[in-house]
Amino acid sequence: MADGRGVGVGDLDGDGRLDLVVANNNAPPSIYVNRLPPAGWVRLELLGRRSNRDAVGARVRLTIAGRTMTRWVEAGSGYAAQSAFPLHFGLGAARRLERLEIAWPSGLVEGLEGDALAARLSLGRAWRLEEGSLTPRDRRLAAVPASPAAGGGGH
């Protein structure tokens, strides 16, 4: 096995499964393409307005089938490594998002649930969410789809 150092994660081929890049010392990198059986997923890329633009530090809670997953936007962890910014949520067999809550670094906490959420975010694709766009006053901005290229597995 090669001498692995930094580990970076991202969906390199846009198929909804996270791939792995391992930087090796004094050798070519190891790249692992994920071919595990497909399952549901959704990906969120947060855009800060009052918060820093990449929303580093934001906490996102997504509830499916009665379970809540928590993820944080981060930049730089592990060993000298950065993973792709968008937060990737595997959904297993769940077909419906129940609740989404975003706590932005600015302090704003906003969210959507139930039908409103289901109407905004369909599964199996990447979405860009701008800070403040989920608040009732500004809902028309909610859940702008990422550019077609970012949709990846949405095809």
Partner: protein, 609 residues
């Protein structure tokens, strides 16, 4: 008027000179005798340690040959070469038979526990049958590793009792990928030939087999993806060129950073490899033929010639809608590459006050003051030309880590004011809100030192709470990551430590020898204060440090009250020599999995990793 000053006592008559000399002579003689005894004791302990160490080395050699014989047995279909490692009088009372238990499914893989069946004694015949069955299951062996886990008893040249860890990776006859991890307790006796050992008895402690379909996480030759890159070491810390000047040559092995980030905003993650000679940026062109495709755009992006680099982070530091790049370099000015918005970059680190030339090894971004822009925290190692890490488990003679506050047109060094200048030999850092107060905290893993957990005090300062939080972990840290592995909403902490999976390196004998060696150096006194700090941090458990250092990766469960509990039973601990680590959902099952640079460990609801 105050009391009269008491009269000074009459001076004692001086003792005759010969009496004083006699007394000094006695003291000197006693001291000399004590020194002689101490020296003798030290020398005896040295010899004892040397025997221990040599025995350990010879056992490891024996294990290496055992592994090779396993492959030979698979190829020939005969287990005789393997049986030669067992004593002719092999007898394992109450050992039972080793069998695979019922499997459970895990992330597209089958996981079989290795179990002991029955409590019958076993002799060579039973062993032959069991080994034949095991070897017969393997269609191919790709990789083996047989190492000492822990030496429990040792009589050099005569016998040893130890736990051993065997890892066998290969495939079975159904084409599935296999990885077996077997821990056993072996009783060894010295063989007829002076150097050799033989297994006199053995018993399984625990074991597991992961069998995955051939197509799961598929290693693809990077060249097939358009990535013609191989990491090159920094020539400035090349041992060959600098044999005399370099005090800490290991640093050349440390580099190997990677950034996965969409630098051009097209929604596809691009790749930046940080390099000792020439870092490289690969743009993601979108998939073709079922594989991702990349093109080298280093030159087009204006990023050609970034050498001595350890870490690179893309982020929109100036909040102008595109991602800029910070590059942390080893004893060379760090760089800030501003994105012009069209995917080209210009270096303006000096203008922003980021051109610090320190041994930067890792970095993380956080908005610690929550003013809406990203600040930068650097993990800083020691200067390999001037120093080597004193006190391997508590080295404090590295250069301070740095916290650089983004003030818009400048980055201001607020290390001192914020209290984040840990002087361990920093190798990794991560930012996360472990206490859930909305203010980002910091974790630092030091090579040759304790971990730090800096709690954000919400006023621009941090407090190292590693001890109170229960994450001190003296192991040689090489990676650190936050993530909620159990879905309770709190950020857990994973640290990867160097661990050759040989806890015996850290046994009392070895630690005692280390301390004896230290006593002989001029650093004994210089470091006395550090020993005292170690003692204050961990009290009388100090003698267990060696074992802790050797134990490897640690998964700390966040208790939600500001403290963590180390998950000792987790297989994560067993993952071995680790550098990078990442929490992410590999199999889209809604649980985060944990990947350490030496293999991935899946996570399933309701169980330990």
């Amino acid at each position: 008027m105050r009391d009269a000053i008491p009269e000074a006592p009459a001076t004692q008559p001086r003792r005759p000179a010969w009496r004083r000399w006699r007394r000094s002579g006695v003291v000197a003689a006693v001291l000399l005798a004590a020194l002689a005894v101490a020296y003798h004791q030290l020398a005896a302990r040295d010899r004892q340690h040397a025997r221990f160490y040599q025995a350990g080395q010879s056992i490891n050699g024996f294990l290496g040959e055992y592994c090779a014989a396993l492959e030979a047995a698979r190829q020939s279909g005969r287990v005789d070469p393997l049986l030669a490692f067992y004593h002719p009088a092999y007898h394992a009372p109450g050992r039972g038979r080793e069998v695979w238990g019922e499997s459970r499914r895990l992330a597209g893989a089958e996981v079989y526990p290795r179990r002991r069946s029955g409590t019958a004694d076993a002799g060579l015949d039973e062993l032959r049958r069991e080994l034949s069955t095991y070897v017969g299951e393997l269609a191919a062996i790709d990789r083996t590793s047989c190492k000492i886990d822990l030496i429990e008893a040792l009589e050099p040249g005569a016998s040893a009792r130890l736990t051993v860890k065997r890892i066998v990776a290969g495939s079975d006859h159904r084409g599935r990928r296999l990885e077996d991890r077997l821990f056993s307790r072996w009783q060894l006796v010295a063989g007829a030939d002076a150097a050799g050992w033989r297994i006199a008895a053995d018993r399984l402690v625990e074991g597991v087999r992961v069998a995955a379909p051939a197509a799961s996480l598929v290693a693809v030759d990077p060249r097939r993806l358009g990535i013609d890159y191989a990491h090159q070491r920094n020539p400035h810390v090349d041992m060959k060129a600098h044999r005399r000047e370099l005090k800490f040559g290991v640093i050349q092995h440390a580099a190997g950073g990677v950034a996965v980030a969409d630098y051009d905003g097209d929604g596809r993650p691009d790749l930046l490899f940080l390099d000792g000679r020439r870092s490289r940026l690969y743009r993601n062109l979108g998939p073709a033929g079922g594989l991702p495709r990349f093109a080298d755009v280093t030159r087009d992006a204006g990023l050609d010639g970034i050498d001595r680099a350890h870490v690179g982070l893309f982020a929109d530091f100036d909040n102008d809608g595109d991602r800029d790049l910070f590059v942390g370099r080893y004893l060379a000015p760090n760089q800030y590459w501003q994105n012009a918005g069209d995917g080209t970059f210009t270096e303006i680190g000096a203008d922003l006050g980021l051109d610090l030339a320190v041994p930067t090894t890792a970095a993380t971004l956080l908005d610690f003051d929550r003013d809406g822009d990203l600040d930068l925290y650097l993990a800083v190692n020691g200067n390999a030309f001037e120093a080597f890490p004193r006190l391997p488990f508590f080295a404090q003679n590295g250069e301070p880590n740095r916290l650089l506050r983004n003030d818009g047109d400048r980055f201001t060094d607020v290390t001192r004011a914020s209290g984040t200048g840990d002087t361990g030999w920093g190798l990794a850092t991560a930012s996360g809100d472990y206490d859930g107060d909305g203010w980002p905290d910091l974790a630092v893993a030091n090579d040759f030192g304790k971990k730090c957990l800096y709690r954000n005090n919400r006023d621009g300062t941090f407090t190292d709470v590693a001890k109170e939080a229960g994450v001190l972990d003296f192991g040689p840290g090489m990676g650190v990551a936050f993530g909620d592995y159990d879905g309770d909403g709190w950020a857990d902490l994973y640290t990867a430590n160097v661990n050759s999976n040989q806890r015996w390196f850290g046994e009392d004998e070895t630690v005692a020898q280390y301390l004896r060696n230290v006593l002989r150096t001029r650093y004994a006194l210089a470091d006395a204060g550090e020993y005292w700090r170690v003692y204050r941090l961990i009290g009388s458990r100090w003698w267990q440090l060696g074992k802790q250092i050797g134990e490897g990766n640690s998964l700390f469960h966040n208790n939600g009250d500001g403290t963590f509990t180390e998950q000792r039973d987790s297989h994560a601990e067993r993952a071995g020599w680790g550098w990078g680590v990442a929490f992410f959902d590999l199999d889209n099952d809604a649980d985060v999995d944990l990947y350490a640079a030496n293999g991935w460990i899946s996570n399933t609801p309701g169980t330990d990793l």
